[in-house]
Amino acid sequence: MTARKLLLLGEIGVGKTSLVRRLVHDELPTDYRATMGVDLYRYEIAGLGEGGGKALELVVWDLDGNYGESIFQHVYSKGASGALIVGDVMRQSTLEHMVRLADGFTEAMPSRQFTFVVNKLDLVGEPEAGLLPERLREARQPLVWTSALAATNVLTAFRQVADAILRREG
C-alpha cells in the first residue's frame, strides 16, 4: 500500500483535529484540547484514480495551530506530499490566513498538492462564496466546504487531495 504524508494546516481552533478524528474514528473529541506538537493518524482512502481502482494510505499530520506560517521551516512539514489548509467559516481572520498558508506551502513545497477546506459549514447552512475573502474565492485550488460536526464532506476533502497526489505522481 502506498503511503503519503499529508499536513493539516490552519489556525488554532478551526477544527483540524475534529476533521481528522471524524474521518478516522467517525467521532469528535468530547472535550477540546489544543493539539500541542503533532498527532499522527493513518487512514486508507480507496476508490481513487480513473475507474476507482487505486488506493492511498494517508499519514495525516495534525499540527499545532500555533506554528502559523513558520511551520514551513519546521521539521514537521518536511517530506509532505500534500496538505489540507483549513479555515473556520465564521472567523474571517482564519480564512485570510488560509491564503497566506497556501502561499507559504507553494513556496516551500512547489508542485505539491493542497486543497482548501472551509469548515463549520453547519453554522451557515449552505456554502456561500460571499463569505470568503476575494483571494480565496479566486484561487484556482480546489475548495471544499465541510462540517466535522455534521459529518459533511469530510471524506470528500481528504479524497480530493489524495486523488490530486496520485494524479501528480502519475
Binding site: A3, R4, K5, E11, I12, G13, V24, H25, Y32, R33, A34, M36, G37, V38, D39, L40, Y41, R42, V59, N66, V75, Y76, K78, G79, A80, S81, D88, M90, R91, Q92, S93, T94, E128, A129, G130, L131, E134, R137, E138
Partner: protein, 388 residues
C-alpha cells in the same frame, strides 16, 4: 551525542564506554532505539516501540513519523550542522490517549557509517498548558466574533445612511422635478378653461392636448420613480445566467428597426448571478446609446471581459458624446441632456442603472469628451460572485 554511546552493544566496548552509553540513554529517557545502515535499513532494534519493525526494512517506510524524510536523513551525512534530526512531541498514529507522546531523534554516526534512531518519551504537557492553549483558542474565537459583529453593525449603518440619502433624493425629486409638469398641467387646464369661456374651442382643444401630454409625462416619471425605489428592496435570487444569451436577446429587441448597428464582442460567461438586475443594466445602457444617438446609422459596441473577480462590460457609441460637466448629473433621476419634451423616456434610466450596479457591489463610470472626439463609453464592473 558522545560517540562512545553508539558502541554500547559491541562486545569489545570498554567499561567506560558502556558507562557513557548507559548514562546517555538514561539522560535522554530512551525507551527504544534502532541501528540503521547508510541506506536507512534496520540492522538492529531494541525496546517496545521498535519491536515490530522488521530487520532489513527501510525505516522511512516502517515508521509513519519518518515517512517522506529520506532526503532529510541523507542530508545529515553531508551537513554536520543538521545532525541530529529531532522530531519532538509526536503522538503515534490513531492513538486515543494523549499521554503517549514521543520524540524521535536520528543521529548520523560518521565513525560507524550508520544511523542511530533513539525514541524517547516526550515530556508530558501539564494540564495548565492545555488550559492555556484552550484559553488562547477561546480568545481568538471571541475576538473574531466581535470583529464579525462590528462588520454587521457597519454594514447596517451604511444601509441606513444609504436609505436616508434615498429619502432625501426622493423628497427633492418629488418637490422639484414633479412640480414642473404639474404646474404646466395646471396652466394648460386654466388656459383651456379660459378658451372655453371665450368660445374658442380650437384653442381649448390644443390646451387640453398639452394637458394630456403633461399627464402622460408625469405618469412615466412616477413609474420610473417606483422602479428606482424598488431597487434593493426586492430580493433577487442568484441563478445561472448565460450573459451571452442575455445580451443577444436585448440587442435583438433594441436593434430591430432602429437603423443602428449593435456589435456584441468579447467573452460573455455564464455566471451565478441575478438575471433581472443585469437585464435592467444592459438594456438601459444599450437603449440609451440608440435613443440618444444623433444619427440614423450609429454604431454601438457592447463588450465584456473578465478581470479579477469582475465582469467588465462596456457600451460604446459613436454618438454626440456627453460633456464632462454632466458626467455626475446624468446618474441622478430625471436629469436629461435634451429638453424633456424632446426626450423619449422619463429620464430615470441611468439613475436606475447606477443604483442597481451599486446595489450588487459593482461600479459604473462614463468616459466621454465631445471636445476631443465623438462617442461615449459606459463601463460597468459587475462582480462575478455576489456578496450577501
Amino acid at each position: 551525542m558522545p560517540s562512545s554511546a553508539v558502541k554500547a552493544e559491541t562486545p569489545e566496548a570498554s567499561p567506560q564506554r558502556i558507562v557513557d552509553a548507559v548514562g546517555f540513554l538514561a539522560r535522554e529517557r530512551a525507551c527504544s532505539m534502532a541501528w540503521l545502515d547508510e541506506e536507512l535499513r534496520i540492522l538492529q532494534q531494541f525496546g517496545p516501540l521498535t519491536a515490530e519493525l522488521g530487520q532489513g526494512a527501510t525505516i522511512t517506510s516502517s515508521l509513519d513519523v519518518l515517512l517522506g524524510l529520506d532526503e532529510e536523513l541523507a542530508a545529515l551525512k553531508l551537513e554536520p550542522e543538521r545532525n541530529p534530526l529531532a522530531i519532538p512531541n509526536v503522538l503515534p498514529p490513531n492513538a486515543r490517549s494523549r499521554g503517549e507522546r514521543m520524540t524521535l531523534t536520528i543521529y548520523w554516526i560518521a565513525d560507524e557509517k550508520r544511523y542511530l534512531l533513539l525514541i524517547t518519551r516526550a515530556a508530558s504537557f501539564a494540564d495548565i498548558e492545555y488550559r492555556l492553549a484552550a484559553e488562547v483558542r477561546a480568545r481568538a474565537i471571541a475576538e473574531a466574533e466581535v470583529a464579525a459583529q462590528a462588520r454587521v453593525v457597519q454594514r447596517i449603518n451604511q444601509e441606513l445612511a444609504s436609505a436616508n440619502r434615498d429619502l432625501q433624493e426622493f423628497a427633492s425629486v418629488i418637490s422639484h422635478d414633479l412640480r414642473a409638469p404639474l404646474r404646466g398641467l395646471r396652466y394648460a387646464a386654466m388656459d383651456a378653461k379660459t378658451a372655453l369661456g371665450q368660445g374658442d374651442t380650437r384653442k381649448a382643444a390644443t390646451d387640453l392636448d398639452s394637458a394630456l401630454s403633461l399627464a402622460r409625462r408625469m405618469s412615466g416619471m412616477l413609474t420610473g420613480l417606483l422602479d428606482y425605489a424598488r431597487v434593493g428592496r426586492k430580493v433577487d435570487a442568484a441563478e445561472p445566467v448565460d450573459t451571452g444569451e442575455l445580451v443577444a436577446s436585448i440587442v435583438e429587441s433594441i436593434a430591430s428597426g432602429s437603423g443602428h448597428s449593435i456589435h456584441v464582442e468579447g467573452e460573455w460567461p455564464t455566471l451565478v448571478t441575478v438575471a433581472e438586475p443585469l437585464d435592467i443594466i444592459l438594456r438601459n445602457l444599450i437603449d440609451n446609446a440608440v435613443k440618444h444617438h444623433d444619427r440614423q446609422n450609429g454604431c454601438i459596441r457592447v463588450r465584456a471581459e473578465q478581470e479579477g473577480g469582475r465582469l467588465l462590460v462596456s457600451v460604446t457609441d459613436d454618438g454626440p458624446g456627453i460633456e464632462p460637466a454632466w458626467h455626475e448629473a446624468i446618474f441622478l433621476p430625471f436629469r436629461q441632456l435634451v429638453d424633456a419634451d424632446e426626450a423619449d423616456g422619463a429620464g430615470i434610466g441611468l439613475a436606475l442603472v447606477k443604483k442597481t450596479v451599486e446595489r450588487f457591489g459593482g461600479a459604473i463610470e462614463v468616459q466621454s469628451d465631445p471636445s476631443r472626439a465623438r462617442g461615449t463609453t459606459f463601463r460597468v464592473a459587475w462582480p462575478l460572485t455576489l456578496s450577501a
